[in-house]
Amino acid sequence: MSSGRGFRALFPGKLDADQTPDDLCVVPQRPAGSLITPVPVPTSVTKTRIILGLILASTLGLFAGVGGYTFYYGQGFSYLSNDPKACVNCHIMREQYDGWQKSPHHAVATCNDCHTPHDLIGKYLTKAENGYNHSKGFTLQDFHEPIMIKPRNATVLQNNCVSCHVQIVDGINTHAGDPKKMLDCVHCHRDVGHGPIH
C-alpha cells in the first residue's frame, strides 16, 4: 500500500518544517467584495486568445528554466502535449510512468488528466509553473528525492479526481482546496495514479 497518506489529512499539502497548515491554503480563496459575483465564462473567441497567450506563457516558463536550445533538445514542446511519454522524457518521471502503466487509470486518464487543471487556462498556467520547476529541478538536480507533490499541485489533483468522479462522490461534500474541510481523496486512494508505492 501506500501509506502516510493520512498525514495530509492532518496537514493538507506537503508540509515544510515551519509551515503551518494554514500556509497551505493554496487554492484561491474567494476574493472579498465585488469580485465575488461570478464572471461570465470566457467566450470561445476570448478563450482561444487566452489559450494562445498561455501556450506562450508556458513556453516562456520552460524557456526561463532551460533556455531555447536546451528547451528544444530537452523536447520541451512535447511537454505541452498530453502524451505521457512527454513526461517520461525525463527519466526522473520514469517511476510514475511505469506505475501508471500498471495502474487502474492507465486506460482512462493520462498524467495531465490528473496533474493539470482541466480548464485550458489553468492547464497551461500550471504547466508553465511546473515546467519551470521541473526544468530547474532536473537541470540543477537540487530537488528533494523522492519527489513529493507540492500543496498547490495536490489541490489540482483533488479537483481532477472530483471532476471525473463527481457522480460517485455526489453524496459527500468534497471541499477541494479548503484545508479544513477537504475530504482528501488521496488519503484513502493513494495508489490510483501509479499503483502502490511499496
Binding site: 493520512g6 489529512a9 484561491p28 469580485l35 498556467l125 472530483v162 460517485i168 453524496g171 484513502c188
Partner: protein, 460 residues
C-alpha cells in the same frame, strides 16, 4: 489581472462541482428533530445502514455478541469484587442497543447501585433532552446560547436518578448527536467532551494527531478551543466518537460526567489526574485497596497509535465508504472493521483480506497473551493482600501494596476495557501491560516482605 481572472475561473469550476452535491430534502429536518427515521427520509442510504447496527456477529476478539465477560474470564469477577461491574459486564454491541442495554444491565436494575442520570450522556440521543432541561432551568434562550443551554441541562440531568432521567429520552445515539441538521456537517456537543478536550488543549501535552489543538496553542490560546470551528473535518471524523468512547468518572455530588484529560491522554497522565483529585471508584472487597475502573478508552488508546498519527480517523475504519448504486456513502453500520475488511482496510492496504486479518489477529493474540499474564499477576496480588489481612497485617503495613494494586489494576483494566484488544496502539498497550505486571509483582514483594511481621502479629 490575468491571474486573478484565472483564479476566478478555477473557483467557479469548483463550485459547480460542489453544487451537484444535491440531496433531495423530502422532509424538513432541523436540530430539534430527534427521530432518526425522519432524517432517514432525506438520507435513506445512511439511515438504512444505521439501522443495521442491530446485527449480531462475532470476531475472534470483538464483534457484537453481548456475551458475559464475567463468565468468559472469571478472574474479572474477582478483580471487580465489590463493584457493580462484578455483577454484569458484557461485550458491547451495535449502537442500536445502547439505550436498552443500559436500561437492562444489572448495574442499573439492581437498586443497590443507584445510578444517576449522568449515565445517559453516552447512551441516548441526549442533545434535545439537555436543551429542554437547560431552558427549563433558566438557561438563556436563542441559538447563540446553544452551549450554555446544553451545559445547564447536562447539569440538571446528571444528578437526577437514572430511572427518572431515562424517561426524557427514547432514541439511541441519533443523527442530531453527530450532525448539524442544516449543513450535515459533523458537530460535537457532549458537555463532558467539550470540557475535557479544552482541558487537554490547555495542557502542554503534544497532540500530533490533533493538529487543530496544536494550532490553537500556537495561535496564543485565544478563548476556548472549539472543535466545531477549529478542528479539520478529518479530525471531526474521530472527535464525534470521542464524545463517548473515552474514560470517564462522575465528579462530586453533581455527578457530572468528567473526562480526566487535564494532564494528557496517556494512562499514567490520567492516573495522575485521579491521584491529584483523590478519586477512587471503589474499595476492593477482597483486598481493601482504593481502586479505579477504566472504561472504553478507545479515543485515548487510538491517540497513542500510528493510525492516529497518520491521520486515520475512527470513521475511516468503522464507517468506511460504501457503494450504494452510483454513489458512495459513509456506512452508518458502525461495527468491527474485521467484518468489512474490503472497505475498511483494503483501500489503504492493498493486500489480501486473509493477510490483513492475520496481521490483526497476530497483534491481538500477542496482546491477549500479555493480558492473561497481567490478570494472573493482579489476581496474585489481590490474593496476597487478602491473605496478609487474614494474618492480621495492618492497614498501615498494607498501604504500599494496596497502592501497587491500584496502579497495576488501573493499567490492566485500561487495556482490557479498551475494545480493540490492543489493535488501536499495539506497542502502547504492551507497554501498559508490562507496567501492570511490574506493579502487581512489586506489590506481592511488598506483602511478602511483611510476612514474618504479619505472622508474628497474628501469632497468638
Amino acid at each position: 489581472a490575468t491571474i486573478a481572472l484565472m483564479l476566478l475561473f478555477q473557483n467557479i469550476k469548483t463550485r459547480k462541482a460542489e453544487a451537484k452535491d444535491h440531496v433531495f430534502r423530502v422532509v424538513e429536518v432541523n436540530d430539534q428533530t430527534a427521530d432518526p427515521a425522519v432524517w432517514g427520509k432525506n438520507y435513506p442510504r445512511q439511515y438504512d445502514s444505521y439501522k443495521r447496527t442491530v446485527d449480531v456477529e462475532r470476531t475472534k476478539h470483538g464483534g457484537s455478541e453481548a456475551f458475559q465477560h464475567l463468565d468468559d474470564d472469571p478472574v474479572w469477577k474477582r478483580i471487580f469484587a465489590g463493584y457493580a461491574f462484578g455483577t454484569d459486564y458484557r461485550e458491547e454491541r451495535g449502537h442500536a442497543y445502547m439505550l436498552t442495554d443500559q436500561r437492562e444491565t444489572e448495574r442499573v436494575t439492581n437498586p443497590k447501585f443507584k445510578q444517576p442520570g449522568a449515565c445517559l450522556q453516552c447512551h441516548a440521543s441526549m442533545l434535545n433532552a439537555y436543551i429542554d432541561q437547560g431552558l427549563k432551568a433558566g438557561a438563556p434562550a436563542g441559538k447563540e446560547n446553544w452551549e450554555a443551554q446544553i451545559q445547564k441541562g447536562f447539569e440538571v440531568v446528571c444528578k437526577m436518578p437514572y430511572s427518572e432521567a431515562t424517561k426524557l429520552v427514547e432514541h439511541p445515539v441519533s443523527c442530531v448527536d453527530c450532525h448539524e441538521a442544516e449543513s450535515m456537517n459533523l458537530r460535537v456537543n457532549r458537555p463532558a467532551f467539550l470540557t475535557g478536550i479544552r482541558a487537554l488543549a490547555k495542557s502542554d501535552q503534544p497532540t500530533p494527531h490533533l493538529p487543530s489543538i496544536e494550532r490553537w496553542r500556537k495561535d496564543g490560546h485565544k478563548g476556548e478551543y472549539n472543535p466545531n470551528t477549529d478542528a479539520t473535518r478529518q479530525e471531526m471524523r474521530s472527535l464525534v466518537c470521542a464524545q463517548c468512547h473515552v474514560e470517564y468518572y462522575f465528579k462530586g455530588e453533581g455527578k457530572l460526567v468528567t473526562y480526566p484529560w487535564q494532564n494528557g491522554l496517556k494512562v499514567e497522565q490520567i492516573e495522575s489526574y485521579y491521584d491529584q483529585v483523590g478519586h477512587k471508584d471503589w474499595k476492593h472487597k477482597e483486598s481493601g485497596a482504593d481502586v479505579l475502573k477504566a472504561q472504553h478508552p478507545e479515543f485515548e488508546m487510538w491517540s497513542q497509535g500510528i493510525h492516529a498519527r497518520s491521520g486515520v480517523a475512527c470513521a475511516d475504519c468503522h464507517m468506511p465508504y460504501q457503494r450504494e448504486g452510483a454513489i458512495k456513502v459513509s456506512s452508518h453500520h458502525v461495527r468491527s472493521p474485521l467484518l468489512n475488511v474490503a472497505q475498511a482496510c483494503q483501500t489503504c492496504h492493498r493486500i489480501p483480506e486473509t493477510e490483513i486479518l492475520a496481521r490483526v489477529v497476530s497483534i491481538q493474540d500477542r496482546n491477549k497473551a500479555l493480558l492473561d499474564r497481567g490478570e494472573e499477576a493482579v489476581v496474585s496480588l489481590i490474593g496476597a493482600i487478602a491473605e496478609a489481612m487474614k494474618r492480621g497485617a495492618t492497614d498501615a503495613e498494607l498501604k504500599p501494596a494496596r497502592d501497587m494494586q491500584r496502579k497495576a489494576q488501573w493499567r490492566l483494566d485500561f487495556v482490557s476495557a479498551e475494545n480493540s484488544m490492543g489493535f488501536h496502539a499495539p506497542q502502547e498497550a504492551a507497554r501498559i501491560l508490562a507496567e501492570a505486571i511490574d506493579y502487581a509483582r512489586q506489590g506481592q514483594l511488598l506483602v511478602l516482605a511483611l510476612k514474618p511481621a504479619a505472622i508474628t502479629a497474628s501469632a497468638p
